[in-house]
Symmetry: C2
Subunit: 201 residues, 2 copies
């Protein structure tokens, strides 16, 4: 697909990158004000100051745009985690990822809530693993877990985190409960996987 | 609301009960063939052989009908569990509930998948706790857990089970993986909550 406004340009040109950022920011702005079902690609294009065709060319369909919102949160979590010293203890190695993810969610809750409530997005986002397991796994390894143990534990933690996010996004649990339960279920899964005797190393 | 076909009758009359069963069965039949979004209340009424007004009177709106599908699965799980001897061991007490729930899901997967993919339903169903935590909690107590420990563990297990169900309903994990992971995350959470030293009592 080629358009007058940018679709024919190389997708990694500076202009394209600028437009992708504008589209991502426009999406967040709109999702802070209304539900995902009420946001059309044309609304996003108008808010970003680009054509509808540019949105399709540079980012994709609406479900891909919304999945990109989750990717944005995961990206912010991964940057935030790099500012912290690596944990040497297994429970801490996993729970720092989850508490940082909860902080990112609560710092700008409306777009994430809107996206999690939209089932098509979950599909796309989960296919990519949401990225959270890929943040947990190396940290567990660095704290002494084997790769296979770390991979399994990370997957189980993501299932549980997923359950807390959905419960929070649907308004079934408060922000405080989301934070507490997400951290608690992570700790319990690490303890259940690695056992108390291995804590601290 | 009152109709010629039954809405004005006492809602617990035998005729009403028969119609509720017919509506529930019609819903399952339709959800085995197509997505929840493609099933209208009028389709359910036609399949059940009742009027649309009767469906609204006896069961409610579409989201309430769909939430009833989940209640139906939980009901079958609770009946199935009563046929089994009570577990005296904590891991077994919790995991028998989850494996029985997985068996119920896999024995008639399409309606559950359809409903879980429909976000409004999750909202209603989760508000009622899905019932699974209420199946786990007393079994943990019977196996020696305190009420507060059992309540907390049941909630954490439901978060994780929720994550596995959503992943399965969206087609991200296979039936076999759903079964294995749901059981594994439950075991790990019980071990993480109660510790290995208390297993067996």
């Amino acid at each position: 697909m080629s358009t007058l406004t940018g679709g024919a340009r190389p997708s990694n040109s500076k202009a394209s990158q600028r437009r992708r950022v504008a589209i991502a920011e426009a999406t967040l702005t709109l999702l802070r004000a209304r539900d995902a079902a009420e946001v059309a690609v044309s609304d996003i294009a108008a808010e970003a100051g680009v054509s509808v065709a540019t949105v399709y060319n540079l980012v994709g369909r609406k479900d891909q745009i919304l999945a990109g919102v989750i990717d944005g949160y995961v990206h912010r979590v991964s940057v935030e985690l790099l500012k912290q010293p690596p944990a040497t203890e297994l429970v801490q190695a996993a729970s720092v990822v989850i508490t940082t993810a909860v902080d990112a969610a609560l710092s700008d809750p409306l777009p994430l809530r809107a996206v999690v409530r939209e089932p098509g997005t979950l599909n796309l986002a989960q296919t990519k693993g949401m990225g959270v397991d890929q943040l947990i796994e190396p940290r567990l390894c660095a704290a002494g877990a084997s790769l296979s143990e770390a991979r399994e534990a990370a997957q189980l933690i993501v299932y549980a985190f997923w359950g807390t996010i959905v419960s929070w996004a649907l308004g079934l649990i408060s922000d405080a409960r989301f934070r507490d339960d997400a951290e608690l279920v992570t700790k319990r899964l690490v303890l259940g996987t690695f056992g108390t005797e291995r804590q601290g190393g």
